[in-house]
Symmetry: C3
Subunit: 392 residues, 3 copies
Amino acid sequence: MGQVAWKGLFLSLFDYKTEKYVIAKNKKVGILYRVVQLSILAYLVGWVFVVKKGYQDTDTSLQSSVITKLKGVAFTNTSELGERLWDVADYVIPPQGENVFFVMTNLIVTPNQRQATCPEAAAALCDRFCAVCAAGVKTGHCLKERDSIRGTCEILAWCPVEKRSKPKKPLLASAENFTVYIKNSIRFPKFKFSKMNVLATDNESYLKSCRYSTEHPYCPIFLLGNIVRWAGSDFHEMALEGGVIGIQIEWNCDLDKAPSECNPHYSFSRLDNKFAEKSISSGYNFRFAKYYRDAEGVDYRTLFKAYGIRFDVMVNGKAGKFNIIPTVINIGSGLALMGAGAFFCDLVLLYLIKKSNFYRGKKYEEVKSSSRKSLSSPTLNGNQSPDQLGGL
Amino acid sequence: MGQVAWKGLFLSLFDYKTEKYVIAKNKKVGILYRVVQLSILAYLVGWVFVVKKGYQDTDTSLQSSVITKLKGVAFTNTSELGERLWDVADYVIPPQGENVFFVMTNLIVTPNQRQATCPEAAAALCDRFCAVCAAGVKTGHCLKERDSIRGTCEILAWCPVEKRSKPKKPLLASAENFTVYIKNSIRFPKFKFSKMNVLATDNESYLKSCRYSTEHPYCPIFLLGNIVRWAGSDFHEMALEGGVIGIQIEWNCDLDKAPSECNPHYSFSRLDNKFAEKSISSGYNFRFAKYYRDAEGVDYRTLFKAYGIRFDVMVNGKAGKFNIIPTVINIGSGLALMGAGAFFCDLVLLYLIKKSNFYRGKKYEEVKSSSRKSLSSPTLNGNQSPDQLGGL
Amino acid sequence: MGQVAWKGLFLSLFDYKTEKYVIAKNKKVGILYRVVQLSILAYLVGWVFVVKKGYQDTDTSLQSSVITKLKGVAFTNTSELGERLWDVADYVIPPQGENVFFVMTNLIVTPNQRQATCPEAAAALCDRFCAVCAAGVKTGHCLKERDSIRGTCEILAWCPVEKRSKPKKPLLASAENFTVYIKNSIRFPKFKFSKMNVLATDNESYLKSCRYSTEHPYCPIFLLGNIVRWAGSDFHEMALEGGVIGIQIEWNCDLDKAPSECNPHYSFSRLDNKFAEKSISSGYNFRFAKYYRDAEGVDYRTLFKAYGIRFDVMVNGKAGKFNIIPTVINIGSGLALMGAGAFFCDLVLLYLIKKSNFYRGKKYEEVKSSSRKSLSSPTLNGNQSPDQLGGL
């Protein structure tokens, strides 16, 4: 007997249970529900799957390696430096060709600085006492010319101190014609996908002579003047005061397609605040020195205040590939949303239309265990509870 | 007739079908279900939407550009170097002002090194044979003083070799008062949103005189001593042995609000292992050399073992903006969770309470196509299958 | 009376409403539905939760700081440079030990360059006119030896110009035995979790003598020759022409486990295109100069074209930790998927099997408000609408 019960229990596991529906022959609510269903379906298919590629797993943390190499020479003829030729080893800092590189375009040179005492820059006047100063340490002496009331503080510093006057025009304005070759390897670790921005199939001569432009979107050689122009700046103005240009390389790859369709997209923007021309946040410059030793073994140096353009190559990417998890999440939550649509239509049917009372009675079948006589037929009375959260 | 059938089919598409519910007048299960519903609703609204902003799409891969600029001079007076002034060009390596910069605070100088043979550092004693060594290549000779049994290996190296003794106190302890100006531009590529940490509206004099503190959270100028203190370290101790400080800039932006509410938050931490004071993993130093050429054209160099503080500016950010997809996903899965709650309450109703047998009969209407007589009324017998997975 | 009605309304809120199900004693569809249920459950538990850890919130934007330190000396004896010893200060560029470092392995030295006019490199012949050139600015003169028809252009440049001939074998081939110590601190900002790749518990002597290998996976000291070999390249070939090696450090941390189980995983790959041996995209070199000043105060320089291996340490990571939101999303969408499974089985039951007509009649109870006589019993007629989208 027990065996029979267990057998029945086991067999009943394979009975199919399906929800019982009430067909409300109400065209208004029916049409409303179909509209809701179609909207959700359209959103799910059109927006989530086609536009947003909701069936894909994405990887946004890419590994990137950038190699840059500049080319170009500039010739200058100034009263200070005489005829001078500038090549890559002179104007690129640092020389290694990493993803951030600086091209010197302007220069304040203060040659033959030695550790000594000398008057501070002319701007800082003193009458008797001398306070802290930027370029060196004040000795406390006030260097006055004969008969004058005010003088200049004496400082212990690398003397002579740097002049404050900025050059009126950029020294290396011809840097506009320099080229930079940018080699970028990326890897999406989640999908184990690697690519380079240099086309493997192209012949070497093309890669030596091409220049990046809208006609040559996969040429990795850029004219500096073009980069600055595309970033919306004027090269000559920028060469004078310096600045920072961002070269964004964006890899937006759909790995469900062929690898050859995964290509970099370049964009250029100015990163220092170009609008605040006179503010502290515009321009880019830094100081460095070349150190020499004279025959007596005393160190002296040439101080350079270098103005120029720093280029930050910033690589950014997203790869998507079909994955079952986001697909299921999106389908599942779309279906759940249909349940919400049904709930909304139920509210309309049960509380907002004229015959709602009748439908409420049909949808909800009241059962009471105490009164067995009411069991065989559902209660149809109108005082069905107007339960707002009923069907949720 | 076929036309009529098709018309009926078409019209029936707009019949609204709604699930039939059984009202179980059982207050216990009813209250339980309401509690479950309210919990899920509270979780969905309170935690997912209000706290976690589940209605937003987030972008965590930001593009960032950092410009740093140091200010300050230090004066030292040692027996080795004499009176000497250190300015930015002397102590900042590399000079370009990138996101990683090093401030030299201590120094072992080995001047006038030339390629020659000389005895190895005193620590390495030999009696007769000389093995490999770190500073140069052993010639194999053992340099002994007269009458002594042990001597020192002769090596071919840059001679004289560097002394092993560390300075007892930091040379540039006054670096504590240097300031660094950190300029950070960020961009969230997904939302095409850019911002800088330098307030555009502030007057220039404020930006020249302010110092970052809790009272001035948007001032981008930091005192090195403060940075180290905020990172939980002692400047003098760190200046002696070197170390690495991380300056984290965090942009946590809610782009549904005004852009002016998207502000950076700074935090400071020590990145080298400060606890393991004597271990290989604490401190930070590196060697570099300045190369000179004497009148005869022979190269010589001054070797510097620089101890100091490396600052790594690490920018990190997250931006969120309303997006329909995560909103739908979160609402959808919350609703689906309510279905799970209903399933749980069904289990209670159908199997755990006293009258479960009766409710089971009401909920499940058994139909058999072979016995047409049972169709007009649901089966109400108690031996309904106790199916555990029934309603799932 | 109104009070009673409100009380009834309030009490009815706590009536439990449960969906009414129809049990279709059809084993085929029942088994089909159980199979669908089990598949979804297996997918949810096995794939989403166990394999993909769907219950975890993940953080992929880690903050990382890398310190590198090289060790090793090389001795060379060439006709150009004579006996020479190379130590860390000579061959590591830049010296600071950041995450990108370059080890010089080969060299073209052009000593004593001065700003002057000289013939261009022999390759560029001219008969009369001289066009643009890479190394300097053409003066326009054609330097011809007596009686020869063709000559060489005269250029204003750093003279003498660099020779084009590459060395046949790498100068610092012994760099293979140099070691690099890589110290990497990471932090997952979302979980406030920090760790280093240097084991805190290890004794100092182990960290000084160990070498990374499969037997010592947590030793942070790497032999350069091994790194290159693991990247699938030949050190001697790479030392000759230069190249870029990526050292990927991957942190894949399950923060629900103990922090000691969060360990780095190293992998090595070649980032420049090694296959295209003669192409523009292989190899790695750059030019830099050391500047000197002679007794007359005239600058001259030694130009170095450095070939070598650049190592890019790239840190990448993912941390997961239990979080209620993704858990709920995954469970919810799994449940919603079961609803989709039920819908599919409904389609089978209602339209594809033999007795589908009968089941359709049982599932859908047609109600019409106009004909009250049909209310007490559901309609059971076979011409129920064959509604394709019925149960959705």
